[in-house]
């Protein structure tokens, strides 16, 4: 038991360290700001006085290390400071901008994950069971196609088919508080379907590859000789040993869900964090961009950590290191 705790602690420390380095990278992007940045944000009509005032407001007159630690300390407490869009008297806090949107994005990603992950894994298991059949070949071709097709193409094809030609769902995913169950499903169906189609192929393919990799081992041969049915071999003997690679590809795709949602949210005009990021980049609202980037990094690192821990948990050789 002691050995596992040490390993978990090690991974946790690594994750925190990576997050720290990432935060330095994100923060230093501001230090690289070109000189005319204030002008770009304030517009051409900015007087030298307003430029200086703006630079003071965002703290460019203080040393970079001091600003970094201020920013980091704030971020840990969930306070990312003020958006560049705030003026004296009309404060706009970064948290207020991204807070509600984060919840929307998590709803979208959570729904998609709940549908896509079980579906992808079971389809992948079937592909491994029926390898080299027509079913397997279709899945292979579908994978190659979906990784090549831009997300917005899938989204617009679905809109054309399911919202315009056959008006089953809505092409705009607005969110209001206290929406009924039916309305929520109607509004979110298309973005969820698009995201599912975008991420499912990769997970399916990797599940198949991981299972087939294990099927080559002698103990599976042994099970086969004992007369265990193919389905049982895949479920009882191959799957537990293939969980680690599957977990890592699922983590990768979940992280992609949060990020890939950027485009999907724009297509469906869904008020999520991806749209906030795009708007902030367009108006060059650096504090919002930094906060979004840090949140994305946090998700990404956290999901990878979970996948890592699952890999350790399902592998007895890693559980009991000699």
């Amino acid at each position: 038991m002691h050995a596992i705790l040490t390993t978990i602690f090690e991974r946790l420390a690594m994750a925190v360290l990576t997050l720290l380095i990432v935060s330095v990278l994100i923060f230093s992007s501001v230090a690289l700001l070109p000189g005319d940045f204030a002008k770009a944000v304030l517009g051409q009509s900015a007087t030298p006085a307003t430029v200086i005032a703006f630079e003071q407001q965002i703290g460019l007159d203080r040393p970079a290390t001091e600003r970094y630690f201020d920013w980091l300390a704030g971020a840990v407490r969930g306070d990312f400071g003020n958006s560049f869009a705030s003026r004296p008297g009309a404060e706009r806090r970064v948290v207020d901008i991204i807070g509600p949107r984060l919840r929307n994005t998590l709803t979208l990603a959570g729904l998609t994950a709940a549908i896509a992950i079980p579906l992808a894994i079971s389809l992948g298991l079937l592909a491994a069971l029926w390898r080299n059949s027509w079913y397997d070949r279709i899945i292979n071709a579908a994978t190659l196609t979906t990784i090549s097709v831009p997300e917005f193409f899938v989204a617009y094809v679905l809109i054309l088919l399911l919202a315009v030609k056959f008006p089953v769902f809505r092409s705009l995913s607005t969110v209001r508080p206290n929406m009924g169950m039916v309305e929520t499903v109607e509004n979110l169906a298309l973005p969820v379907l698009t995201l599912t189609l975008v991420i499912i192929a990769h997970m399916m393919r990797m599940t198949r590859a991981a299972i087939i990799g294990v099927l080559g081992s002698p103990y599976v041969e042994m099970a086969k000789l004992k007369g265990v049915s193919p389905l049982k071999i895949v479920l009882r003997h191959a799957l537990p040993n293939a969980l680690a690679p599957i977990a890592s590809v699922v983590a990768f795709n979940l992280a992609y869900l949060i990020v890939g949602a950027v485009i999907i949210e724009v297509v469906f005009v869904y008020p999520g964090i991806g749209q906030a990021l795009v708007d902030a980049v367009r108006t060059r609202d650096v504090p919002v961009v930094q906060a979004c980037a840090l949140l994305f990094a946090l998700t990404y690192i956290f999901l990878n950590l979970i996948a890592d821990l699952i890999a350790i948990g399902t592998n007895p050789r890693l559980m009991h290191p000699r």
Partner: protein
């Protein structure tokens, strides 16, 4: 020395045999992919000769004009010919993507091999930095940098090039690690060859097949990234024709059941599928040939 002098001859023989084997194994999908790439390149190169109208030429006073004899696929929101803009879009998208992919490879491969050859603290520092950048999703890295420097074609090429270089760095480094332990690399070190020589003359030729396949995949990825950015309005700026931007500009038409927004999106998809088919076949061949030895 005898072995050394014999080497080029056998090498030549083997490479001609290899090409014959590769061509024999070309699958229909690979031919299909190659044909697509060839067609796109032709269109990109001769864009100004093929297109009936200019890239930014306003040919109709009707915005979102219908499909007619003169304007084959209708007109866009400013009355420009959609068909001509699709053709010019091929040139812009492919040109910019190629440039960004080149940068990705020049930076990623030279840093990757150098890190592998030098090892030690240089390797550690560069690898740590790359790990940290890769802890952020690539689209986010590019968006953060764009918010600082602003969007222009030059900035796009450099930013996408550098963001992609992290993946190539990892690949080049891990593949070269297997090569740097070879005797001939040690031999070159003993001879006192410079770092540049070891990187480009000893290691690079031996990891080239892996890198060629990666180049295809990176190119696809860059095309998709640039189109995504342009679609978000953060990539190639108007009036330059770009497929992603064209989808964005005509997006509202979709709610009237018009397929025009799907055309540029399909152009991107077909190109990416073509490249992926060829890469898939190339990887298959590369692994198959290894079995032959």
């Amino acid at each position: 020395m005898k072995i050394l002098s014999e080497h080029p001859a056998t090498n030549l023989k083997r490479s001609s045999k290899t090409i014959a084997v590769i061509l024999r194994r070309a699958t229909p999908s690979a031919w299909f992919g190659a044909a697509i790439i060839f067609l796109y390149v032709l269109v990109a190169i001769f864009a100004s000769h093929i297109a009936p109208y200019g890239e930014t030429e306003v040919v109709s006073s009707v915005p979102y004009g219908p499909w007619t004899q003169q304007t084959f696929l209708g007109t866009d929101q400013l009355g420009r010919d959609v068909f001509s803009r699709l053709i010019f879009g091929a040139r812009n998208t492919i040109g910019i993507s190629l440039a960004a992919t080149m940068i990705t490879f020049v930076v990623g491969v030279s840093l990757g091999i150098t890190a592998a050859v030098l090892g030690g603290s240089v390797d550690m520092v560069v690898s740590r930095i790359v790990d940290a950048i890769m802890a952020l999703p690539q689209l986010v890295v590019i968006l953060v940098m764009l918010s600082v420097v602003g969007s222009s074609v030059f900035n796009l090429i450099i930013l996408i090039g550098i963001a992609g270089a992290t993946n190539v760095f990892r690949l080049a480094r891990s593949v070269s690690l297997n090569v740097t332990v070879m005797d001939y690399v040690e031999d070159a070190r003993m001879r006192g060859e410079s770092l540049v020589w070891i990187v480009f003359r000893e290691v690079l030729p031996n990891i080239l097949p892996t890198l060629v396949a990666e180049f295809g995949m990176r190119f696809c990825f860059v095309v998709l990234t640039i189109s995504a950015l342009s679609f978000l309005g953060l990539g190639i700026q108007p009036p330059t024709a770009d497929w992603g931007a064209m989808v964005r500009e005509s997006a509202t038409l979709i709610s009237y059941g018009d397929v025009t927004p799907l055309l540029p999106a399909a152009a991107i998809a077909v190109l990416a599928i073509g490249v992926n088919f060829v890469v898939d076949w190339f990887l298959h061949c590369a692994s198959g040939l290894r079995d032959d030895h």
